[in-house]
């Protein structure tokens, strides 16, 4: 007979962090850690992904929710970005050749603002210099001269005819539409009647003179439109000359300033030509340039990197299509939607260009078209601003087609592992564009070095959130809590978000107690408050058990019934509770019925566990024959689905109890999974399960018989609360490690399990003997029934 496993000492149930080993008084003395502890793999991936220049080596930071991926990525990128040069600034200017295609200007980071200011000044100077030139005396005199010259030419042409006419006694008379000619005598037009009285020869001479003059007049007048045109051209040339004078000096100064950037000087040249071409559009009164023309000479500084000291690190929390690639705004004028290059707005890709863009993968995938837009930008290595309306509507307002911005960027997506693997599986582009995975650990090893790093992390959290410093006892308690969160006394939970919440609450409690530092009591209280707020459902379940609404006996013995342990997860809060497992056994043919599965309440893993259990029964008790058993197992009063294999030890024990008709102690609860060889395997949530059963037993009264059987493999995971540990230390509650099914049977029945001898026979009086004996009886009964049936049939 083997010795049943001894209960664990209280010391093994918890891994304390000794405050005296921490080399500081409070976290105020600590510097934040250089790197987040335990994330070497992810950091190396980040280092690699950001160093490699290939644009398709973008990164996906994956890990469990709350592991602080964003903070780590952000901190890393901000440090990395300081080593990079600030990237170009970008701006759009008016395209004088193709107005609907604004031209892109790439500018040194500091110089975008300078050019913007220079162009603003230029426009401002145009506003004053142009009217000043056109109001100058010189200009007016020259215009006057031009006008007078034209009028004089016109007048002189008419006067020359008039003079010639006078010499030939003909008068040139004004009419509403022009002129007419008539014979003159004594300074007046001769009366026609008197004219006709003149000798015919004289009439003819006069008429011939009039005809000749008329012809000459016609020729002269026909010159007038040409002279007018010439006068207009001269006026235009004068205006152009004046404009050149007005704008030339300022433009030349700017061109000299920007001669190192040909694109800029080309644009300035465009301004020069354009404003001259608008000479006829000047306002008549003040010779001012219309604002809509001046607006074309400005710079839309899309991305201004003048203030950057390294590469940009941008996080976009709402990565819509438009917020990623930018947008073109419109304005209403006279019922129409209009736009111009000044209304082009940058997106996150523009702002992060030359640096790093952080996006939450889930957010990108949730925004319509954002994922495709992002991929298109990475593939094309450029950002082209395209509105969704252009793609998906029939009628679109007047829009622009700005030059695309060349893209040189590293994109870091942040998301959980499921998302990463789903994208890898279902989106062929994903693995081409996001080639670097930065996989964040959920936990880190608990050792003195990491404990100190953890303390530094807590110091950083306290500092960044303006919290009181933690004293060493608070740090120690928090480290212990981190182990509990990891569910492992050899690990620490890597996530900072739950810690930040805990520290904020502890800080609040410390403030209420007028403490300058956060102590362990404040941490303890904060943990208790968090639990208290979340445990309403647990309390209701415990109450139901204590009032026997849920039938969970914790004393006495029962055949075919056992207390299993289950964990429930509600949001971030998980708790354990006992569940009642019952079994029945009768003769039959190699059949163990999983009632949960039959009722379609059992999951696949649970079904698998039942099959393993069934095989174990067969191989253990009927290695050479048929298992003549018809058994059933059920979780009583459980109305939801059940999943997992952590109840398989309990199910086995219940079945064996039912087969062998050996009662099981109800003061004990069991958890653990079993393999086909009867070895007990580790399960999850061991702490919650133990504490869950303890709570019921405590409320009913601990008498030293109560306890829990757990897999020996779970010993490193034990981080039980203080109350359980105290009860264990006082001998009022026990935790038994079990390595194989027989360990559980012995502890639960109080009888030896019994090891098979060389012939496969179990020692008499043992549990296994009783099982084998009953199964033999079942076999006999089954054979008798079968032969009886055959006889009857035969």
């Amino acid at each position: 007979m083997t010795t049943p496993p001894a209960p664990l000492d209280a010391d093994t149930l918890y891994q304390r962090c000794d405050p005296s080993r921490l080399p500081f008084e409070t976290t105020a003395e600590l510097q934040p850690p250089a790197f987040p502890p335990g994330q070497t793999r992810a950091l190396e991936a980040l280092e690699f992904g950001t160093e490699i220049e290939d644009g398709s080596f973008n990164l996906f930071a994956l890990g469990a929710f709350g592991t602080g991926k964003y903070a780590v990525v952000r901190d890393f990128l901000e440090q990395r970005a300081q080593r990079d040069e600030p990237p170009w600034s970008w701006g759009y200017v008016y395209n004088f050749d193709e107005p609907d295609k604004p031209r892109l200007l790439r500018l040194p980071p500091q110089e975008g603002r300078k050019l913007e200011k220079g162009l603003e000044n230029l426009v401002e100077e145009f506003r004053t210099a142009i009217p000043a030139v056109f109001e100058s005396d010189e200009y007016h005199n020259r215009v006057q001269e031009l006008r007078e010259a034209f009028k004089r030419r016109q007048r002189e042409a008419v006067e020359a005819i008039s003079k010639k006419a006078k010499e030939k006694d003909v008068a040139l008379v004004n009419t509403p539409n022009g002129f007419t000619l008539g014979p003159v005598r004594d300074g007046e037009i001769l009366d026609p009647e008197e004219f006709h009285k003149l000798p015919e020869e004289q009439q003819e001479t006069w008429q011939a003179a009039i005809n000749a003059l008329e012809k000459e007049l016609k020729q002269s007048l026909q010159q007038i439109p040409k002279w007018q045109k010439e006068a207009r051209e001269k006026l235009l040339a004068l205006n152009e000359e004046m404009l050149r004078v007005a704008v030339g000096q300022q433009l030349q100064a700017l061109e000299d300033d920007w001669e190192h950037l040909p694109d800029v000087t080309a644009f300035l040249g465009g301004i020069r030509d354009d404003i001259i071409s608008h000479v006829n559009d000047l306002d008549d009164e003040g010779s001012t340039v219309p604002e809509e023309i001046l607006n074309q000479y400005q710079l839309n500084l899309l991305v201004d990197n003048a203030d950057l000291e390294g590469a940009p690190v941008v996080y976009e929390d709402l990565p819509t299509h438009a917020r990623l690639i930018g947008r073109i705004e419109h304005y209403f004028r006279e019922g129409a939607l209009l736009t111009d290059f000044r209304l082009i707005r940058a997106g996150a890709l523009h702002r992060a260009n030359g640096g790093y863009l952080i996006l939450h993968a889930r957010q990108v995938l949730m925004q319509p078209f954002a994922w495709d837009t992002l991929k298109r930008a990475i593939y094309g290595k450029q950002v082209r601003i395209e509105s969704l309306e252009q793609f998906y509507t029939v009628f679109t307002p007047i829009s622009l087609d700005p030059d695309p911005v060349p893209l040189d960027i590293k994109i870091v997506l942040i998301g959980d592992r499921l998302l990463y693997y789903l994208l890898s599986e279902y989106d062929p582009d994903f693995s081409k564009l996001f080639k670097v995975q930065a996989d964040f650990e959920d936990t880190l090893d608990r050792n003195p070095e990491h404990e100190l790093d953890y303390a530094r992390t807590l110091a950083a959290l306290a500092q960044s959130n303006n919290l009181r410093p933690l004293d060493r006892s608070a740090v120690a308690r928090t480290i212990e809590h981190a182990s509990r969160m990891a569910g492992d006394n050899e690990k620490l939970a890597a996530g900072t978000r739950p810690l930040a919440d805990l520290l904020a609450e502890a800080n609040h409690i410390a403030g209420k107690s007028h403490s300058d530092t956060v102590g362990s009591t404040h941490i303890e209280a904060a943990i208790a408050h968090q639990e208290k707020r979340a445990e309403r459902l647990r309390e209701r379940a415990v109450e139901a058990i204590l009032r026997n609404t849920l039938n969970i006996p914790t004393s006495g013995e029962r055949i075919g019934a056992i207390n299993g342990l289950a964990v429930s997860q509600l949001g971030n809060f998980s708790f354990g509770l006992p569940t009642r497992i019952t079994a029945t056994a009768r003769p039959g043919r190699d059949q163990v019925v999983d009632i949960e599965r039959e009722a379609k309440l059992g999951g696949n893993i649970h079904t698998k566990a039942m099959m393993i259990l069934s095989r174990y029964l067969g191989s253990h008790y009927a290695p050479d024959g048929e298992l003549s058993l018809s058994a059933s197992v059920a979780f009583e009063q459980l109305y939801g689905t059940i999943e997992g294999d952590s109840a398989s030890v309990a199910e086995l024990c219940a079945l064996i109890s039912a087969i062998a008709r050996i009662p099981i102690r109800q003061s004990l609860a069991v958890t653990g999974s079993i393999n086909q060889l009867g070895e007990v395997q580790a399960i999850g949530g061991v702490n919650e399960k133990i504490e869950g059963f303890f709570r019921i037993c405590r409320d009913r009264g601990l008498d030293g018989t109560h306890g829990v059987l757990i897999p020996e493999a779970n010993l490193p995971h034990l981080m039980l609360n203080h109350e359980v540990r105290s009860a264990v230390a006082a001998g009022r509650f026990k935790v038994y490690p079990i390595a194989k099914a027989d360990d559980a049977l012995e502890r639960l029945t109080g009888q030896p399990a019994g090891e098979a001898d060389a012939n496969g026979r179990f020692p008499a009086g043992s549990v296994n003997w009783a099982v084998a004996d009953r199964l033999l009886h079942f076999q006999t009964v089954t054979r008798h029934d079968a032969s009886h049936g055959e006889d009857e049939n035969g």
Binding site: D137, N174, T180, I224
Partner: protein, 278 residues
């Protein structure tokens, strides 16, 4: 103008003539004066139309258009009708005593004769009539009437588009001898037009003289301001008027002489009506 004699406005079918009629009607109404609208059928024109070989040469195209007595008669009838309608319209805007006088003969002679017969002391006409369309800023009739020093003369020209500033009547005072006449006439014009008065005063008018001129205006309750004429020349006046919202310019018979320029140059300087005070 102070003695409120009739106003003679000389009319033809030109746009300037229409503007002159409206201005003259307003002035007559405001100053309770008779308005004599004088329409002269030009004898030279009538005779020219009587020739069988007469043609009208278009100033615009140089083409020859038919021109005969019938065409001219029709035109004159149409012009008379238009003028009558315009006068009736102006009369409908307020009390206006008016009559249309149609005469035949030389325009200058007929106009001065009509002015003499009616006792008019103000003749209103366009700066240039039909010839304005051919680049003339001052027509031949206006030039001739400038020589007649017995009456005041208002030479109408459509103003430039008004700017933001409030318009004012500008009086150009460069000679002490006619300063008082100009100031009173311009004040009357300013009151008639509901405009303020701005005196553009040369150095030839000393401070004491200026004070006495302003004192003369006090009873008239007209808003007056003064502006020095820095340079006593045509350019100086051009500079002073540049960018200003002048509704009218009032000058004297001797103003051009005192500026050392030709009257026609001074009259054609502003694109606005000019009142030449006698």
């Amino acid at each position: 103008m102070a003695d409120h004699g009739p106003i003679v406005v000389l009319l033809d079918s030109s746009p300037a003539s229409t503007g002159a009629l409206v201005a003259a009607a307003r002035l007559a109404r405001r100053q309770n004066r008779d308005l004599v609208a004088l329409f002269v059928e030009d004898r030279d024109l009538s005779r020219s139309a009587g020739y069988a070989f007469a043609r009208e040469i278009s100033a615009l195209s140089g083409n020859a258009l038919p021109f005969d007595t019938q065409t001219l008669t029709d035109r004159l009838r149409n012009q008379r009708e238009r003028i009558t309608a315009l006068l009736e319209h102006e009369a409908g805007r307020g009390a206006l005593r008016w009559r249309l006088q149609v005469a035949s003969g030389g325009i200058y002679q007929t106009t001065t004769q009509a002015a003499t017969e009616t006792g008019a002391d103000l003749i209103v006409l366009g700066k240039a009539g039909w010839s304005a369309g051919r680049g003339a800023r001052l027509g031949s009739t206006a030039r001739q009437l400038l020589l007649d020093t017995g009456r005041s003369l208002m030479l109408w020209e459509d103003r430039r588009r008004p700017g933001k500033d409030q318009e004012a009547v500008y009086a150009l005072i460069t000679d002490p001898t006619d300063a008082s006449t100009i100031v009173r006439a311009s004040a009357a014009l300013a009151l008639a037009n509901d405009h303020p008065l701005r005196l553009l005063v040369s150095r030839a008018i000393g401070p004491a003289r200026l004070r006495s001129l302003l004192a003369e205006l006090e009873p008239l309750a007209v808003a007056v301001s003064t502006q020095p004429l820095i340079e006593q020349s045509l350019q100086g006046v051009a500079h002073a008027l540049r960018g200003q919202a002048a509704s009218d310019l009032v000058i004297g018979r001797h103003t051009a002489e005192s500026l050392g320029c030709d009257s026609s140059d001074l009259i054609t300087l502003p694109t606005a009506p000019v009142l030449v005070v006698s």
